[in-house]
Symmetry: C2
DNA sequence: GCTTATCTGCGTAGACCATACGCAGAAGCT
DNA sequence: AGCTTCTGCGTATGGTCTACGCAGATAAGC
C-alpha cells in the first residue's frame, strides 16, 4: 500500500467536493448541488432527452454558459446526476446478519433506485464506480461478503453479477412501462403485444424453443417482481455454492470445468 | 395460440425484410444492408459517436436525406446495426449435450460479440429482443434450457441473467481498454490507477470493506477472463441448483426465502 | 404509346445541440 | 488604491436530426 496522495482528475475531485474554492473572485451565485438537482428534476419530469445545458440553465435562471463554471462537461453533469439520484445504499449487513439477506437487500436496493429514477438507465456507464454514492454502494456490497472466504476478485465479480442483473432487469421493465405510457396502454398489454410480434416473426422459421415457450406461456402470470427475484435467488445460490466449496477446503481450480 | 397475423410495426417489418417493395417507382440505388453495413464500418473504425446520418451518407456517396428512404429514424438504423453486428449465435446445444456447456458457450458468445464490436455497448437497449439475430440468440439460449424442468418465465430469467452479466462485464472491460487507448497506457495501468483513486477518496472515510479489498488485492492478477468465468460459473451453479430442486419434486415456493 | 400514379434521390431549411473564446465587472489580497 | 483572480454570460462555430417538397425516373393502365 503506497502513499494515497494521488493527483485526482477534475471529475473525481469535483464529485467528492475536494475542489479548493478560490477566495479571490466574486461569489458564485449557484452551487454544484443546485445544478445537479436541477438536472435531476428535469430528467425525472421530462426524461433524460430533455436535459440540455440550456434547459438546465433556464431552470436555474442563469445563462447557458454559466453552467460551465460548475461542470467541465455535460457528461460530468450526467455522472453527478446519477450519483446523487441513486442515493445512499440500503442498510449494511447487520452485526449478526448473514451475507445472503444482506446481498439480497443490496440487489433489491439497486432495482428500487433504478425504478425510482428510470432515466438513469440511459446514462452510459463511464467506468468503474468512483463517485461518492457509488463508492458507498460498493462498500456495502463488499461488506455483505466479508468473511465468506471469497477472494477479492471473486467478491467484486459477485457484486457485479448482482448489480448487472439488477440493471438489465430494471431496464427491461422500464422500457416496457415507458412504451406503455407512450401508447396509452397497460404494461401487460405491451408485454402481450411483444409475444404476439415474436410469434408472428418466428412463425415461418424453425424456432422450436421459442414456440415451446409461447405455447407454454399461456398463463402470462408476469408478476415481474417474482421473475426478478427468481434470477436473484439463482445468483445467490451460485454464490452460496462457491462459499461452501471454499469453506470445505481451498479448492483452487473449481472454475475450470465451466469452459 | 391465436392467429399469428398481427400487423407488425414498421421497425420490425423492416428488420425482417417483410416490406413489399413497390414496383412503380425508379429503382433504389442502395439496399438497406448497404446502409447498415456502412454504419457498422464507421462505428467500428471511429466509434459510435462518429455515426451520424450525414457521415453514413457521405460514406455511401449519397445525400444525407436519401438515407431516410431506407430507415425511418436514426435509432432504427442503430438497432439494425447492432442486430447484424452481433451476428449469429454460437452453435446450439448438441443432441447429447448438457444444458450447462451449451449455456456457457452462449454466454461466452455474448461477451465475444461485444468485444469484437465494443461500440455496441453504447447503443441503448430499445426493448425485448425482436430483430432477426436477436431472436436467433434467444432461440439458442432457450434451446439450451429445454427439458430442464424450468418454467417459461424461469428460462427467460436465466437467459437474461447470463446476457445481462455478459453485457456489464464486456462494458467494464471495454471502458477500461478504451480509457487505456485514449491515454496511451496499458489496461493494467488504467486498472491500477483506478484502485489508487479509490484508495485516495476512501482514505479519510470509514470504508472498511473497501480497504480490506485494497489491502488484499496486492496481487492484482487481473486475468479478467478468469474473473468473468467465475461469475458465469456462479450463475450456472445457481441455475443448476434450481434445476435439481425442480427435478426432486415440484417445489412451488422455493424462492420465497430470498426476500 | 401515352397518361398517370407512384416512388426515388436530395436540396433547403428549421430547430436544436455542446462548447470555445473573450470581455465586463465583482470581490478580495497586498 | 491597485492588482489579481474569478464570475456570469453574449457571441459564434460547427455540428445534430429530420420535415417538407420538388424534379425526374419508372412502370401500370388504357
Amino acid at each position: 500500500m503506497d502513499g494515497p496522495d494521488v493527483e485526482l482528475p477534475e471529475n473525481i475531485a469535483l464529485a467528492w467536493g475536494l475542489r479548493d474554492r478560490p477566495s479571490r473572485g466574486p461569489k458564485r451565485s449557484l452551487s454544484l448541488d443546485q445544478v445537479v438537482a436541477a438536472g435531476i428534476q428535469i430528467a425525472q419530469a421530462e426524461g433524460l432527452a430533455a436535459v440540455s445545458m440550456s434547459r438546465v440553465a433556464s431552470e436555474l435562471g442563469v445563462a447557458t454558459m454559466s453552467l460551465y463554471r460548475y461542470v467541465p462537461t455535460k457528461h460530468d453533469l450526467l455522472d453527478l446526476m446519477v450519483d446523487t439520484a441513486f442515493g445512499p445504499p440500503p442498510p449494511p449487513r447487520g452485526a449478526d446478519e448473514g451475507w445472503r439477506p444482506a446481498l439480497a437487500r443490496w440487489g433489491e436496493g439497486n432495482v428500487a433506485a433504478l425504478r425510482r429514477q428510470p432515466w438513469m438507465r440511459h446514462v452510459p456507464i463511464s467506468g468503474p464506480p468512483i463517485n461518492p454514492n457509488q463508492v458507498r454502494w460498493l462498500e456495502y456490497g463488499l461488506a455483505a461478503l466479508r468473511g465468506t472466504g471469497l477472494r477479492a476478485s471473486e467478491r467484486i465479480a459477485a457484486i457485479m453479477l448482482v448489480s448487472g442483473y439488477a440493471r438489465s432487469w430494471a431496464t427491461l421493465t422500464a422500457d416496457i412501462a415507458e412504451g406503455a405510457a407512450r401508447t396509452g396502454q397497460t404494461p401487460e398489454q405491451v408485454g402481450l403485444r411483444y409475444w404476439r410480434y415474436l410469434a408472428t416473426v418466428t412463425a415461418p422459421g424453425p424456432y422450436p424453443a421459442i414456440h415451446e415457450l409461447l405455447a407454454e406461456g399461456d398463463e402470462y402470470d408476469d408478476d415481474t417482481d417474482l421473475e426478478w427475484r427468481f434470477g436473484l435467488g439463482r445468483i445467490l445460490d451460485g454464490v452460496a455454492a462457491m462459499i461452501e466449496t471454499r469453506a470445505a477446503g481451498t479448492v483452487r481450480d473449481a472454475e475450470s470445468r465451466d469452459a
